[in-house]
Symmetry: C2
Amino acid sequence: MMDVAERAQVSPSTVSLYLRKPDAVSATASRAIAEAIDALKYVPNLMAGGLAAASSRAVSVIVPSVRNAFFAETVATMQAELGKERLQVMLGHSEYSEREEENLVKMALSWKPAAVVLTGLSHSATTRRLLKDGNVPVLELWELGGEPIDMAVGFYHEQVGSTAATHLVQRGRKRLLFLGARLQEDRRATLRADGFLKTARETAGVSAEIVQHPAPANAAIGAMLLAEAIRKYPDIDAVACSNDHIALGVIFECQRIGVQIPERLSVIGFGDLSFSAACNPALTTIRPPGDLIGTEAARLILDRINETGRATPTVIDTRFTLLQRQSS
Amino acid sequence: MMDVAERAQVSPSTVSLYLRKPDAVSATASRAIAEAIDALKYVPNLMAGGLAAASSRAVSVIVPSVRNAFFAETVATMQAELGKERLQVMLGHSEYSEREEENLVKMALSWKPAAVVLTGLSHSATTRRLLKDGNVPVLELWELGGEPIDMAVGFYHEQVGSTAATHLVQRGRKRLLFLGARLQEDRRATLRADGFLKTARETAGVSAEIVQHPAPANAAIGAMLLAEAIRKYPDIDAVACSNDHIALGVIFECQRIGVQIPERLSVIGFGDLSFSAACNPALTTIRPPGDLIGTEAARLILDRINETGRATPTVIDTRFTLLQRQSS
DNA sequence: TTGAAAGCGCTAACAG
DNA sequence: CTGTTAGCGCTTTCAA
């Protein structure tokens, strides 16, 4: 930076100012500095900047796993949005463990991040304390309904379950079933199951049960669950799945054992994954706005950093969309 | 750190040493320092550390998109492995653009990363120059066959295509087709197509064509491609798909139009995605070792950082696996 | 709008 | 194995 300043005939602090707030520097100086940066191929050292400013241009994003398409979508969107403002995404995977999440938060704080982004509303006591004391913007994504540490962007998962149940009932179904995977770890899937069962059972003449498996969701588990469901509850006429991977397995299993969808069995999923519209039959599902969550989250972070006077909202409900297709 | 040193009755540099190389500090000092860190709830400032060391504990990982399950797998694995050594993953998405990748590399270099990880072997000239001059370990993942900037971990995609063709021919197929999506951007899918066509056409009595679509791969595109393929080449008896999303669409479309798999048509995919084994019929596919690529990459980076004397290899061929299932 | 000065909190020789 | 010393390359008042 000193070399750039020398070449541009200004002081280092003017170069620094130019880099951070270009508008505060005169056109003449700006031109000279830009030329010097270019000629010298100057690359700012963000470590030094972060040290001096006691805050870095890194945003720590912690999700259960980026292998999960939902979180991948949000992470990808956030990186794209934050990258435009030259903010770096630092990624961490909690693998659905609060202990691991806590470690990641500790590591993250060492970087003096511009913001910390978590998934969901349940965290260890230490995590909450670290973050509250940390004097850093905190965002919790993908879940609404509890008390956020700072800001939250997401939707109500009980509503998702409730919407699914209502939809199936409206289609004339009476014997409902929820098919869930890894419910012990996936709090949000559990909330969807709760909402589903509650709404279904509150409806006169409708019954609802749940069948689950502890392994992570995939189509093979979905197929197993459907087989087990048919065995346990031969008279079911509709299943709601904790996500579309499970629903895909249900579709394949029904094909194999000759259960007609939707005539004999209605199926609704969650996720609207890339294959859902192309299934045979096309899968009715509920689409969570993974990308919207990402853009809204990025916007809140940017607002905070730029302290745009106007108080930023604390909670954003992105809602979700029911997509009715052939399977119901 | 000075507070910790004072409380532990040692000098700050001993604390620093303890933090970086615990084994180099006496047991007595270690105990005292650990106690002090705990009591004071000391959180190291990695920005300061990075500045002083002229190198940070951040690893920049740039992939086309983490929405793609292949790269998500590698990113997740790398984060887990590097996280154990307290290295942070900084994520960037090139969206298959060399220009965007170049921007991300420039941003990454500002952080003085411990290593830069890219996807594939083709990059802009500037990217290559920046990285070669950057005096930073560079890894290129998921592709072998060219001249790596520094180190590479992956496999040969032409071999994948060739393996698929050979498999189909061995199953007695004669009229082969490659179904591809987004080949103009996805160099590795193009390499697989090339290998497939070459091997098929070199085989006596076997013909091979290609049908493609410019949109990103998903099941709907796969269904469209299959329909188009049947129209153009009514006598095909086998299709290889650029990935399993396409293959899934093919399976559904064949169900709809009544084409028997594998009797009338053999299908092979690429990816072994989470649904592939559970399809109806189960999908024959080629599994790329996304997790192995991640662990090997992490190992190379760690070796470099710790300068484990022994020269680290420059290129690692992880190979891939053919999984024969019902669809062929 | 610009510049001088004073660090930010740590690392890395080096000597002991 | 431990301590001394001299910065790393920026940002940020504050004054001009």
